[in-house]
Symmetry: C2
Amino acid sequence: MFASRPAVHPVEAPPPTDPVEQPRGVLMKDLPGMPGTPGGLGLRLAQFVFAGIALSVMASTDDFPSVTSFCFLVAAAILQCLWSFSLAIVDIYALLVKRCLRNRRVVCLFAVGDGITAALTFSAACASSGITVLIDNDLDLCSENHCASFESATAMAFLSWFALSPSFLLNFWSMASG
Amino acid sequence: MFASRPAVHPVEAPPPTDPVEQPRGVLMKDLPGMPGTPGGLGLRLAQFVFAGIALSVMASTDDFPSVTSFCFLVAAAILQCLWSFSLAIVDIYALLVKRCLRNRRVVCLFAVGDGITAALTFSAACASSGITVLIDNDLDLCSENHCASFESATAMAFLSWFALSPSFLLNFWSMASG
């Protein structure tokens, strides 16, 4: 009679009376595109590929160091490549071991890093597009410059930013909704 | 003995057992800078003033229409002025009648509008800064151009964006945390 009897009487939790008080973050748990999902991995790979193309196209021209904005674009594309590649590896790891990357600190880190790289890539792309539009439309100097390379590198940087912004918004959303 | 006796027996709400199930959005309700608070009104007025200065300084130069990016900056500054002025009036109204602007649809509308205007203002400021850096540093053509006006207009556009981004982030946060 000395055997312990784990007599557990589960108490049912009362249903929430006010629908406003329900935590909304729970609904977002499995949204595609979040870190640790196949959609999130796809977004990271797209960012990496587009930033890599922008970097290689811009670096293939011989006169990009003469314009500050193009140097900034190259630097931003390098940072974007490194960041997206690291997070793609984290996503692949999370998918392989089937772990959920919903730790609050990790999501916060991802959101801040995404925000910084998104701002850098977008500003570099905008500055480069200002220069290319100036050279192409306003001054008509395309015969002396590599306009096609500059424009395609700028477009690739914009595409990389387009792939990055859903990651940032989803991370920020899940950080806010807890 | 027919006088009504308001015998109220307040029932104490049970304390939440699981801290994870607490809605996090409730904690953010009175954060300064949200729409309908004095901080939010201050942010709106700062955006309006900076965008107005950028617009007037850029429009005061006679050769801004020859560069596409500067025209884009003027257009973005006009849009920014209109948006910030409208929302400042909404904030003043909310402060006067002491209403809380925490309606979900209103916050969603504010967040989307803030996001669009922030992206436009930031891209215009980046494109203009690319041009001004090209003129000033790379080509040394400041003697023939209004470099000071261009640079101050660009700086004011950046300041307007700096004042806009907390509004956007707070609106997005309160939209996400419900």
